[in-house]
Symmetry: C2
Subunit: 350 residues, 2 copies
């Protein structure tokens, strides 16, 4: 369930545009009423209305809302945000800009991501991570597994429209070894989403997984085939059968070497299939607990899940940490960034 | 271009249904006016109108048009057609029926396939071949490569709706070895379809393909990655560059061992990417030239391409064989089957 709150009677997109246009003038120079105005508008409008605002803004002011947001950013973020904005606007960029990837933090990034449609947002996030991919990165898993099959497909269409290439070819070209063998089918498969389960198949594939895991043959093509092509309902049955037949949850058996990044990725995929909310709670927890906060991960999960299952993630966060997510984010962030994230996750603490 | 001919002013779907309902009573018992009536209706209606006929038929007679067609089939085809019909109607079938797969020939099969939407037809064809897959079978290549990315995706959706599983998981579970490594990404990728070409990438990937082919490393993951993920426009540039850099067309270099089925599959994929019409002309030619005629292939290509590019395929057939496809089909087939195929490919010989 969503944590987004918005007025019962929404202002017209044109009225919202006018408010935003006024607010942009002061954005980023000093914290004040303008930033509050931007947050009060954008953080309290559902996706369809934000799309309307973006369309109306382009009509009224002849400029993409993203570009206007970008224009008013402070100098510190200028190059990085230009990169992001170019990426968002599907413009060509120089490879030099890539070195500023690390600076896409804070309120600006959160607002820019939030303004995008869910599919466009996933496309931008996937493209960022593909360009600077490392085995520890989990963004592709979120996009491939925590979305529905149709949401993943929509992201792939948005990726092509924006970057003039397919997500599949970029993932295949920028990853390697076992990670490629796992990630390419993971982002390629259009999984079946029905609830039908073949119990004898679950039994035989649980056995197959167990044999490969027991033999430390973690990258075996059968392991990859099962995890990347079977439906989530079928996989849940397989994981349950695994535990019933062999005693341990499958992820416990995959913990033989905590430093092995491939094993860690397999576990992440299995966690994300089993319970995406629990998986995402952990991503947020690690982001907050990290020295200096992993703003990239925090922003990503909050902007992508606020309208999906943030309520469940908040509840799980509270159960796990004995502190509300609201308090944790409040403590760990500052300024416009804090205000924006808190507006998205809402006050109604678990 | 299509070879389908139909009246400028189409009868209403209800009128067509009435004609068909009358005709079915005599179908398959002896050749006569009833069969001619079925052909005159179904073989001269565009896809959208056939869809309307099927919908109207179900409304008026309370039964799927496919089932009605099936009911009137002769005894010889009964079990086989029941299998096909079950498959078409997404009903459960007994494994025993599979042994009758070889009998799905003739007019009945052609008509049943023709009544389906293009995506449903591809789903049924793909499912048939996955269940009885052998390395020499080319149906999955046609469906994955000779269709647009959106057509392939529509076929995958239709596959899920009908069989309650994904095409990807079935291909992955029923193929093996190098064929699986090639076919799973081939049916999974949502290729970019734009015309943009990266010439330096074409150059470097042509070089990579040449190195692997020279080293007889045909199943190398880079070869598979390039062929299964790059856009068709990009691949055409790569193949051209290959010829320019290294002297031979890529497919000539892949002919080192004519008996190697994997090499043969790679060549088929490359031919199908380079010019699907030429590839399909060859499928038809081989089907006709085969002792006894490969009716499965002939029916498949004609029913799937009649409304797409059969005109070009006919022209290529005439150029290659010095005989019109019309004459060749007429000579090689008989009865209702002959009449139906000729109606689809049309009299306007190249």
């Amino acid at each position: 369930m969503s944590t987004l709150t918005f007025p019962g009677s929404l202002p017209s997109p044109a009225d919202d545009c006018e408010q935003l246009h006024k607010a942009f003038q002061g954005w980023g120079i000093q914290r004040g009423t303008n930033e509050g105005l931007i947050i009060s508008v954008l953080a309290h409008r559902p996706a369809a209305h934000r799309r309307e605002i973006r369309r109306a803004y382009a009509e009224i002011y002849g400029e993409d809302l993203l570009k206007s947001l970008d224009k008013e950013l402070t100098r510190d973020f200028e190059v990085a945000s230009t990169y992001l904005c170019c990426s968002l606007l599907a413009l060509k960029i120089s490879p030099l800009s890539l070195i500023f990837v690390g600076f896409w933090f804070g309120a600006q990034r959160a607002v820019l991501l939030w303004v995008l449609d869910a599919a466009e947002r996933d496309a931008v996030l996937a493209n960022e991570v593909v360009r600077k991919w490392s085995p520890g990165n989990r963004v592709l898993i979120e996009i491939a597994v925590a979305r529905t099959a149709d949401e993943l497909f929509a992201a792939k269409r948005a990726y092509q429209a924006r970057f003039k290439r397919s997500l599949e070819e970029d993932v295949a070209a920028h990853t390697n070894g076992d990670f490629r063998k796992l990630l390419v089918p993971l982002v390629s498969s259009y999984r079946y989403e029905g609830s039908e389960v073949n119990t004898s198949l679950a039994k035989s594939e649980a056995k197959m997984l167990h044999e490969k895991i027991k033999g430390k043959d973690y990258n075996h093509e059968e392991v990859i085939r099962i995890l990347t092509t079977r439906s989530k309902a079928q996989l849940l049955a397989t994981f349950n059968d695994y535990k019933n037949q062999f005693g341990n949850p499958i992820n416990k058996d995959l913990k033989s070497d905590p430093k092995n990044e491939f094993l860690s990725m397999l576990r992440a995929i299995i966690r994300c299939i089993t319970c995406p909310e629990r998986y995402l709670e952990k991503i947020i927890r690690l982001a907050i607990n990290k020295m200096g906060t992993d703003e990239g991960a925090l922003t990503r999960v909050i902007t992508t899940r606020a309208e999906v299952d943030m309520k469940q993630i908040k509840e799980l966060y509270y159960k796990r940490n004995n502190v509300t997510l609201y308090s944790a984010v409040k403590k760990d962030t500052t300024g416009d960034y804090e205000d924006f994230l808190l507006a998205l996750i809402g006050h109604d603490d678990a």
